[in-house]
């Protein structure tokens, strides 16, 4: 699977732009602020129906205009599939596959898998568990629609239950029977979500360890721990033991929304004890493991977007990435770099076909060979 054609209308700093990509490595070079990352983001929109950097669609429209449209043609095993994603102010976003509009945007997710490696990946390590759960959910939901549905239901019941707890407090009337339906559903859904998260980690961690060993040169021992209250043999009792606390705090204290994903280095928390370099190695290994996982599960190579990685990574990590590129580990690649000469020299050792795009202030020119 690869993206052959991309057409942008009023997306971020682009007015109208037609681009033809190759199945190999597409290099987007140009000065800072020219719009390289915006091109990656447009591809992100085509694949996952939303921007990777700004969830507010009206802010992704070219300044002063009323709509954007991103149009892409994917080649998959001999057939061309066309995706159009459009957003107009005051209307809801529409995504069409081969001219047919989806009822729900979530139905599109997973059709054209994608992995983005970007400087803000370090958030996965520095930020709280919520960011890590989102990363995890994002990967599983790309291939498991039932998981996504369970998760949406879980969050809805949780919201209702918390509103009810608040209500108990305000009205000082406690009808505990009212909790029963929410408790029952939350417990059932938590068990289903937990077991899928566990089996996901069983698949994910070996990929991760492999990449980390390469990137770091086998120097230190790292660990990913998944902790959930649901692993308690008697989770239903645990859930109910929090009842008084739940009512007092007006929120639900047990469930998969409290799951923790802990990154460790030499048995210590990475966030506090890992060096800058170790944290970067960890982040890129997470992303490469995401790539391998999606590839293994979906049977097709996801698109790989590399945003400014040559600038942000050091030699050993770049070497590992280039090594993977050279042995054709990836499918189609899009990368951005502010320094064209660096990209050219680094990619010299990689024999895959390359195409250079010069991005100058919202306009793209192709280097003629």
């Amino acid at each position: 699977m690869y993206l052959r054609k991309l057409i942008l209308h009023n997306f971020k700093n682009y007015e109208e732009q037609h681009l033809d990509f190759i199945p190999g490595i597409n290099c987007l070079v140009g000065e800072n602020g020219a719009g390289k990352t915006n091109l990656l983001d447009a591809i992100h929109v085509l694949s996952l129906t939303k921007s990777a950097f700004n969830p507010v669609d009206s802010q992704n429209i070219r300044k002063g205009l009323g709509y954007y449209a991103v149009n892409g043609q994917f080649e998959t095993g001999g057939t061309t599939e066309e995706v159009i994603c459009g957003f107009q102010i005051g209307k809801s976003k529409s995504v069409k596959l081969n001219k047919v509009e989806y009822d729900k945007l979530s139905l599109h997710i997973g059709k054209f898998p994608l992995v983005l490696i970007a400087p803000n990946d370090s958030d996965l390590i520095r930020e709280g568990n919520e960011v890590r759960r989102k990363f995890l959910d994002g990967i599983i939901a790309q291939h498991d629609a039932a998981y996504l549905n369970d998760l949406i239901r879980y969050n809805h019941f949780l919201k209702q239950r918390n509103a009810l707890l608040k209500n108990f407090n305000e009205t000082r009337v406690r009808d505990l029977d009212l909790l029963f339906p929410y408790d029952k559903n939350l417990k059932e859904l938590a068990a289903a979500i937990y077991s899928k998260r566990v089996s996901f980690f069983n698949q994910f961690i070996p990929f991760f360890n492999q990449h980390y060993a390469h990137v770091s040169g086998n120097k230190e021992e790292v660990n990913i721990q998944y902790k959930s209250q649901v692993e308690d043999e008697d989770f239903p009792s645990l859930f109910h033991s929090f009842l008084e606390k739940d009512i007092y705090q007006q929120r639900t204290n047990a469930g998969i929304h409290k799951d923790e994903i802990v990154f460790e280095i030499e048995d210590m928390p990475l966030k506090k004890f890992g060096s800058q370099g170790q944290q970067k190695s960890f982040a890129i290994s997470l992303k490469l493991a995401q790539y391998d996982c999606l590839h293994a599960i979906m049977g097709k190579k996801p698109l790989l977007l590399l945003d400014d990685v040559f600038d942000k990574l050091d030699d050993l990590r770049i070497k590992h990435l280039l090594g993977l590129m050279a042995e054709n580990h990836f499918g189609q690649i899009f990368l951005t770099d502010a320094r064209p000469e660096r990209t050219a020299s680094l990619l010299e050792s990689v024999e895959t076909e390359k195409k250079i795009f010069n991005v100058i202030n919202g306009v793209v020119k192709v280097n003629e060979p």
């Binding site: 209702q160 009810l164 029977d177 009212l178 339906p181 559903n185």
Partner: protein
């Protein structure tokens, strides 16, 4: 929208409070009434006032009625042992049109949703619990929408009447008659397979 008359403005504001009607449609309706004969507007206004003042809700099932007890509850042809729980009066009309049901109804007036501030007190639930204790109800059919809120309400009521010896069921969910399997969403189709019906050749 700017109006040359305060009277028009008030009328438009009031009409546009109705569901599905925006400012433009409201203006069109108001102007239409002005254009037509005066008695027609009066008839409409009288009908609405009369509706509001004289309508009563059935004391038993909360259906709309002309008397204290509605036509369904007072009919001798209906099976008093079966009770069908619905969200809204419109649901009664829909089920009556099927011609498949001969029992009685109970209108809840909504479903439980704490986010929107709707709890059992806002609905006709305590009246229902009382009703099944005083009337000869043997079976309850829940005909609520297949949403998370509908299911929650079903669970809650089932729990409230658990101690009584009453058979409970909920209407089946599945593929519409004449529908196409291919176009049925996965969740409905999955559920249809789980709750499949037995096929007998006798």
């Amino acid at each position: 929208m700017e109006f040359s008359s305060k009277l028009i403005e008030t009328a438009v504001t009031e009409i546009s409070k109705l569901p599905g009607i925006g400012k433009k449609t409201a203006l069109r309706l108001a102007l239409h009434l002005l254009k037509s004969e005066q008695f027609q507007t009066e008839q409409l206004a009288n009908a609405l006032v009369k509706l509001r003042n004289e309508i009563v809700y059935c004391e038993k099932c909360f259906n709309i009625s002309d008397d204290n007890i509605c036509g369904i509850c007072s009919s001798i042809k209906r099976d008093k042992n079966i009770l069908c729980i619905v969200e809204d009066i419109r649901d009664i009309l829909a089920i009556e049109n099927t011609g498949q049901y001969t029992g009685l109804y109970h209108v809840l007036g909504g479903v439980i949703s704490p986010i929107e501030g709707v709890g059992p007190e806002q609905l006709n639930i305590s009246a229902l619990v009382q009703r099944v204790q005083t009337e000869p109800v043997k079976e309850i059919i829940f005909a609520l929408s297949p949403t998370m809120e509908g299911d929650t309400t079903t669970y809650y009521i089932s729990k409230k009447i658990k101690a009584l010896d009453i058979k409970t069921s909920s209407i089946a969910r599945g593929i519409p008659i004449g529908g196409d399997l291919e176009y049925t969403d996965e969740i409905t189709l999955g559920r249809s397979i789980l709750t499949r019906t037995n096929y007998t050749t006798e």
